[in-house]
């Protein structure tokens, strides 16, 4: 198996493992334009989450970079009463996972 395919398989495996962890409600991958490219939630929630979270991440990133332009956002966690939203932002994509660890 070529190295690239191997890595792709590894990524798929890891995503499956994440999906099967306790309390994970959904995984969304959003591309740089804000369009969700992969999701385990229903369409309406996906669209809602991706649009809103995109705004939040932009705001967070702009806040950080205003304070120090050499800094950048690497991970964002939003803890709420019901669950926790974890966002791994990057130049080309966002990875969003919603988890309720006590469920």
């Amino acid at each position: 198996m070529s190295l690239r395919r191997k890595k792709g398989a590894e990524v798929e495996e890891t995503l499956k493992r994440i999906q099967s962890q306790k309390g994970v409600q959904g995984i969304i991958i959003v591309n740089s334009e804000g369009i969700p490219v992969k999701s385990t939630l229903d369409n309406q929630s996906t669209v809602q989450y991706s649009a809103l979270i995109h705004q939040l991440v932009m705001k967070a990133r702009s806040t950080l970079r205003d304070i120090d332009p050499q800094n950048d956002l690497t991970f964002l966690r939003v803890r709420s009463k019901k669950n926790e939203i974890m966002i791994a932002p990057d130049k080309d994509y966002f990875l969003i996972v919603i988890q309720n660890p006590s469920a």
Binding site: V11, T14, R17, I18, D66, R77, D92
Partner: protein
């Protein structure tokens, strides 16, 4: 009037009504509508003002009483030129409406043309020749007139005043147009925006331009393109992006196919990128940490809210110390493999390496090594497979990412755990018939670190890495003493020099090896014979463990079920511990407390605390039926032990209700050991908590 006008292409070019048209009260009379009727119709407010005025010359004065005029003839109209033009249009339309409605396909042409120029006043001058008789008179008259005109200015005879002209009534004009769409565009020049633009080199800018061009050609929604790329580049407000996003979601069907293709290729690209792999693994860790947070908090000794409540309730009661299972390191790859050895990384205490015996029953059985991290309790970070079962492993102190393993067939290998799939140095299987190797490592601060292994064929060898070679040098060969039986399992205990290089400089490294029942002390510098021999165990010694806190004390275990405590300079054991008649596989000191050690029997784990009792273990934990416990490890800085078993699982237990040494017991201990003077000092110095209490008592 529902008139529709179509041009040659069939599109509707009906002029929109300018005025709210009042319906014709008697449509029947439309047939013979004349110009006059049109112009002077009741209800038409346009002509109220067009009564003859003084301005208009008398020539047109009697137009009102004029008879109806033909269209083709000279047309004379009242009113200002633009009004006239509009009325022409209206009249034409009205006339056209009388025609029978022609089919739409046939168009007809309306030709509008200009009327003749209307002259309002025309006074031609009279020309008189210069030679005529009354030329002089005319000239004189002209001159008089010019004088008269110029004198008019300041003279009293003439008075200038304005006169009122009749102002025509204002007419409302309604027009209809499409609204001008306006698009708002703004940008915020934030500090990081400026920084980004400056730090981008010209090449980067060019590639970005080309990217943008590609993007432009691929996109359908042209009006939002520039906004999207700009927002992508500068990361400013999302509102335009959102507009684009919603526009996309309502795209036409043909566009939707393109859209799907594009996102699929996008997905492929994202999934295969390096950064995404990293993000996903970090995400997995975060999620797992979330799930296991209470367990990990217990592991680290952090107070847990629920625990505190329970503790306050149960204060004062003496509870049996137990092992509370926290979590298990297991993965589908390792199920069923017996665990032989475990070790922590020297630099990063969160990393654990575990060696497994191979699952298949072939000979040689392939072995497995897994590196687990405390950050991801669900999946091992690294998995290496080796050609033979792993018997022991050890992390290096000087190169913290190097892991040395010894295998069942006698070969030694070094792995670089930073790399995902690589084996660093060569796995050397050149040595003849070495079995049961147990590599040791001596850490020295002055000298370089040395990898030393002891094996069942009686050789103690030092391994060196030169260039690409993995060489070994025999340090010592252990002779079998007095023909003890064919199979000798020789192992070694490692001496860890806490005090740095000083102790080592005396005798080099000091090691011990076990031969059936006997223990030999040997040093690296003297390779000829043993320095000392310790004999006590009747049956083969299985394990030796040096105390990590006090450097002259070690424990030995054997298959006769006893554990002996030795001090290096006396050839008889100081203390002996027995609990059950069962083979003791291994014993380990606790790195946190000098008087605590744990021993692993086949089916139970015992934790001894010498401050509490030297007669029986403080804590006994039984394994599940059918499971053999095979390996043990303490965790530094934490009240936990790790137990590996034959199922391939490493279970992490927390020592619960395990209180270290009460002061009264120290006194008892002191009294008991009064005869062995050296040991008292040793023992008291071990338990850090007891020191101050003892001093207080003294």
């Amino acid at each position: 009037l529902c008139l529709q006008v179509f041009d040659s292409q069939g599109s509707d070019v009906t002029p929109l009504p300018l005025v709210a048209v009042v319906d014709d009260p008697d449509p029947k009379t439309r047939e013979k509508s004349s110009l006059e009727e049109v112009l002077f119709k009741k209800g038409s407010s346009i002509f109220k003002s067009s009564t003859p005025t003084d301005v208009v010359s008398s020539r047109y004065g009697d137009i009102q009483t004029h008879k109806p005029i033909n269209m083709e003839g000279h047309s004379m109209f009242i009113g200002t030129p633009d009004k006239i033009f509009l009325e022409i249009i209206r009249f034409v339309l009205l006339l056209l409406s009388e025609f029978p409605r022609k089919p739409v396909a046939e168009g007809f042409d309306i030709i509008l043309s200009e009327t003749d120029t209307i002259s309002l006043l025309d006074l031609p001058p009279t020309l008189v020749s210069e030679d005529a008789e009354d030329a002089d008179a005319v000239k004189q008259r002209n001159r008089d007139y010019a004088e008269f005109c110029s004198s008019k200015m300041g003279s009293d005879n003439f008075f200038e005043r304005s006169s009122q002209t009749l102002v025509g009534e204002h007419k409302c004009k309604y027009t209809q147009t499409d609204t001008n769409k306006s698009v708002n565009k703004g940008t915020i020049a934030t500090t990081w925006d400026i920084y980004d633009s400056f730090s981008m080199s010209t090449e980067n800018r060019e590639t970005r331009e080309s990217e943008r061009v590609d993007y432009l050609t691929r996109t359908r929604n042209k009006q939002d393109v520039s906004e999207v790329t700009m927002s992508r580049e500068t990361g400013k407000s999302f509102s335009e992006n959102q507009a684009y996003f919603f526009g996309v979601s309502s795209a036409a069907e043909t566009d939707a196919d393109l859209f799907m293709l594009k996102t699929e290729s996008n997905l492929e690209k994202i999934l295969s990128s390096e950064a995404f792999m990293k993000s996903v693994s970090i995400m997995e860790r975060v999620i797992v940490l979330n799930i296991f947070q209470p367990k990990l908090a217990a592991f680290r000794g952090l107070p847990n809210e629920e625990d505190e409540e329970r503790i306050t309730e149960e204060k004062g009661h003496y509870l049996t110390p137990t092992l509370e299972p926290l979590w298990t390191f297991v993965s589908p790859l390792t199920r069923g493999h017996n665990i032989t050895c475990m070790t922590w990384n020297k630099k990063n205490p969160d990393i654990l390496a575990v060696g497994y015996v191979g699952g298949s029953s072939g000979n040689p059985q392939p072995g497995l090594i897994c590196c687990w991290s405390l950050k991801n309790l669900v999946w091992s970070e690294r998995v290496f497979s080796c050609h033979s079962s792993v018997t022991c492993l050890e992390f290096s102190s000087s190169n913290p990412s190097h892991l040395a393993i010894g295998m069942y067939d006698g070969s030694v290998a070094i792995y670089n755990v930073q790399v995902g799939d690589d084996t660093a140095c060569i796995a050397n299987s050149r040595d003849c018939a070495k079995r049961h190797t147990q590599p040791l490592q001596l850490s020295g601060e002055e000298r370089e670190e040395v990898l030393v292994s002891v094996s069942g064929d009686g050789r103690i060898t030092k391994w060196l890495i030169l260039h690409n070679d993995f060489n070994c040098v025999d340090l010592m060969i252990l002779k079998r003493s007095s023909g003890q039986g064919r199979k000798q399992s020789i192992g070694g205990g490692r001496k860890q020099s806490i005090g740095g290089g000083r102790k080592q400089s005396i005798g080099g490294g000091r090691k011990q090896s076990i031969g059936g029942g006997h223990m030999h002390k040997c040093s690296l510098s003297n390779s000829d014979h043993f320095l000392d021999t310790y004999c006590k165990h009747p049956s083969p010694v299985t394990h030796i463990e040096w105390s990590p806190i006090y450097s002259d004390v070690f424990l030995s275990t054997s298959s006769d079920g006893t554990i002996q405590l030795w001090k290096v300079d006396t050839l008889n054991p100081k203390m002996s511990f027995t609990s059950v008649q069962s083979i003791v596989d291994s014993v380990k000191w606790s790195p946190n407390c000098g008087t605590v050690f744990a021993a692993i029997y086949r089916h139970r784990v015992e934790v001894w605390d010498l401050c509490q009792s030297i007669m029986r273990p403080t804590l006994v934990h039984h394994a599940e039926p059918g499971v053999t416990l095979s390996s043990l490890l303490f965790a530094k800085g934490s009240d936990s032990i790790l137990v590996g078993d034959s199922r391939g699982e490493v279970t992490v237990y927390k020592l619960k209700n395990f209180r270290v040494g009460k002061p009264k017991k120290v006194n008892k201990l002191v009294g008991k050991l009064a005869t062995q003077e050296n040991l008292i000092i040793c023992w008291i110095s071990f338990s850090l908590k007891c020191i101050c209490k003892h001093q207080a008592n003294l």
